[in-house]
Symmetry: C2
Subunit: 458 residues, 2 copies
């Protein structure tokens, strides 16, 4: 028994390793390449492929056995995979699709042009896999149906533990991670589960109905959203959740690894929305995509600012007489924006947590307004002091700035609270309300309030 990595520490890709691999590919030293990579995990080989050219990557993948190659393809990032699979014909793709989990197979096929997709399904040797794929294809990818895989082990409640072990043996190849065996009745309705631990400890002849767990299970229906699935699996600490149809018939299962990916992607999406980036982009995407993803909110913000310019322009005679008024425009704008984002992000977070069963809108607003009131008083006092300093004791101007700031903090808190609630009601991601939308809206409102008060007091 040769131990390559006795401490089992994670593989780290270095530049030297990469140079060596590239050299070996150029020399076509197949055995040397295999010796270097065959003990690595699929995800590690993927990280190597990410740094190679399309042809180099294809060269390596074709050296590996089909199962490992297929696993590597399923760990590639969606954009990279689309490019990479262009190097393969439908028959080659079908060879890989044949041996991977049905949920990954559907993800890969959905990235392909319709013609390739149809060809691959027709060419699949494993007809059960083809049926699984066709079954899964019509679910939306962000709901439970789209996240589930068909691979699972199920057993009729009337069977015995011995038969259950035989079923596990029969499917050992297809179902890599088992966790638990699902128990169904004659109609395929989900009744419960038996954990592998229980199977190990049970007498072989025992009946499933005497050992299975009928209560300790939660299932979801196919139309449940990915967020809800993630919340449930997190709440109940599940590593897999069964998916049923409306009658309760077992259709598939969702495993925690897919849900973890889903959680990470959703969090990243929220952060991008908050940053005013309108498409799902990464730093290494094309220049054009990066430009395009930023323009909508950039232009949107500018339109808002020109509306603000229109408002300010109406007060040009006051500004002409007392130019110091304009010095506080940034204060009004940025404080309104900051307060708006602070308020909305808390609401977005508690909407996501679904906390607060009996928090009525009114109770929520009372609390928000109380916090806003305290902050507004502190901000107004601070602003009074500072503007006295900036303008060497121009009391009326300082009073005006201070009152305006008070109004802006209150208004921005209210907007920051109501906007995500309204968006949520309209089924729009409420995180939009923590982005440039709220800062732009609050800017315009803020300047309106400021110049109104300037007009009234000065």
């Amino acid at each position: 028994m040769e131990v390559v990595n006795p401490q089992h520490l994670p593989f780290e890709l270095t530049k030297e390793f990469l140079e060596e691999i590239k050299l070996l590919i150029a020399e076509q030293s197949n055995e040397a390449i295999l010796a270097k990579i065959e003990d690595l995990f699929a995800a590690d080989i993927t990280s190597i492929l990410d740094e190679l050219s399309g042809e180099e990557a294809k060269y390596i993948v074709q050296l590996l056995d089909t199962k490992l190659a297929a696993e590597i393809i399923s760990t590639l990032d969606s954009d990279d995979r689309k490019k990479f699979l262009k190097n393969f014909n439908s028959k080659e793709i079908a060879g890989y699709i044949n041996v991977i989990d049905s949920d990954d197979a559907v993800d890969i096929l959905n990235e392909q042009p319709v013609r390739v997709r149809e060809e691959v399904i027709a060419l699949l040797k494993d007809r059960e896999q083809a049926r699984f794929i066709i079954d899964l294809m019509h679910y939306d990818e962000d709901c439970a149906g789209g996240l589930m895989q068909k691979e699972l082990i199920k057993i009729n409640v009337k069977q015995t533990v011995t038969e259950c072990v035989e079923e596990i043996r029969r499917q050992a190849e297809d179902v890599e991670k088992v966790y638990a065996v699902y128990v169904v009745d004659d109609d395929g309705l989900l009744m419960g589960t038996v954990s592998l631990k229980k199977i190990i400890l049970a007498k072989r002849g025992s009946k499933i109905q005497d050992v299975f767990d009928a209560d300790g299970i939660v299932s979801v229906q196919t139309y449940i959203s990915g967020e809800e699935v993630a919340d449930l699996m997190q709440k109940y600490d599940l590593e897999a959740i069964p998916v049923v149809n409306i009658q309760g018939r077992l259709l598939g299962r969702i495993t925690i690894d897919d849900v973890v990916d889903f959680i990470t992607e959703s969090a990243q999406e929220d952060i991008q929305v908050m940053a005013g980036i309108s498409e799902d982009v990464e730093e290494d995407d094309s220049i054009w995509l990066l430009v395009r993803s930023r323009l909508p909110w950039l232009i949107g913000g500018m339109v808002g600012s020109f509306l603000a310019a229109k408002i300010i322009d109406r007060f040009d005679s006051s500004i002409s007489l007392m130019p110091a008024i304009s010095a506080f425009i940034p204060l009004i704008g940025s404080t309104g924006g900051n307060v708006g984002i602070q308020s909305s992000s808390l609401i977005v977070q508690s909407l996501a947590d679904k906390s607060g069963l009996d928090t009525t809108l009114w109770k929520r607003l009372q609390k928000v307004l109380l916090v806003a009131l305290i902050n507004a008083l502190i901000a107004a006092a601070f602003a009074f002091g500072c503007s006295m300093l900036v303008d060497h004791g121009a009391i009326m101007l300082s009073v005006t700035v201070s009152i305006s700031l008070f109004a802006v903090v209150m208004l921005a808190s209210l907007m920051g609270t109501l906007t995500p609630l309204v968006l949520n009601q309209l089924n729009i991601n409420p995180a939009v309300a923590s982005g440039p939308f709220i800062t732009t809206t609050n800017d315009i409102l803020g300047y309106g309030v400021y110049f109104l008060i300037v007009y009234l007091l000065l």
Copy 2:
């Protein structure tokens, strides 16, 4: 076999259910209470307790058996738990700590005052649990040592599958989720794992060394950060990862449920940092905490705005002559802020993904500046058109606004790219750079540039 919830759908807490529970508590109808809740999962009972008073919650917990009660306590949110456990004495707390996983036990004890902590450890009946807790207590809570639990099943490589099954039976109570059995040598060094599936399928008399998996395992050392553990478990689709010391001796394991919680909390933290909230707060925290968490960035932003006011004030004579200059102050400020956040959030994201092995700083900047250049040109052209509209054809002013905006977009992109990279080097969470910090900095820089160009051209 009575099936309460035949479709195994998740429990949903309603107001009616809650009213009924409160009534039953007031009536002290213990059996009726138990009948209503004993089939629920711990997490569901927790969601009920969240809506009850401290005394009502204690009443319910004391009706339940110790194991379930302990599980409920470990699913409570940290702040709630601190309050809740004030109702119990050290002996009662020790009774619960006795039966829960060591990692949760340490989390709970770390929330308690030192005196309670010491008393509870001294009062633990299960001395192995006490040893586990003392072992785990000195690790930082955000590293692998702080996330791991001591409960796991391990077997010597020289033993047999039969002995392994006996070991599982012996520890069935203590180790709820097994996943795999860890294989160690005589010195306790981690050699590999055997999955439960393999144990089920192996002949009972087989030797562990003939069936175990020596390659298919990754471990981490105690000092590895929680983020890295999460990345590894996600990369390799693991449901548990073993933790070893520097010699490779097996110390514990981290299970995926704890890592999922960690991922969610980190994402929430980043969003709060971006929103300019300086402490980990939720909507239902106290008014004082909510006020305090917002003040630092609120005041920070205001200080920035007063610096901007100082700059603008120096140009009061120009503004007096041409008040329209001040109408474009919001445009300069908000565009700079928006561009800065867009740029920094992409960098923060790729720092988190650790993507781009050979992306040197220079390559990164080239790309960022190219994207910025295109956006800056589009923004400048748009601004020229709009300011001509706002000011009815004041060409020189429109040229000034347009050039300034170009400079501001370029500068803000550069700042948005460099700031998170610098913060990351300084070991500060780079998400700070996507919050009010970057908007404030870009505001001040932007106004400086704008008025410099005003000074040069007008």
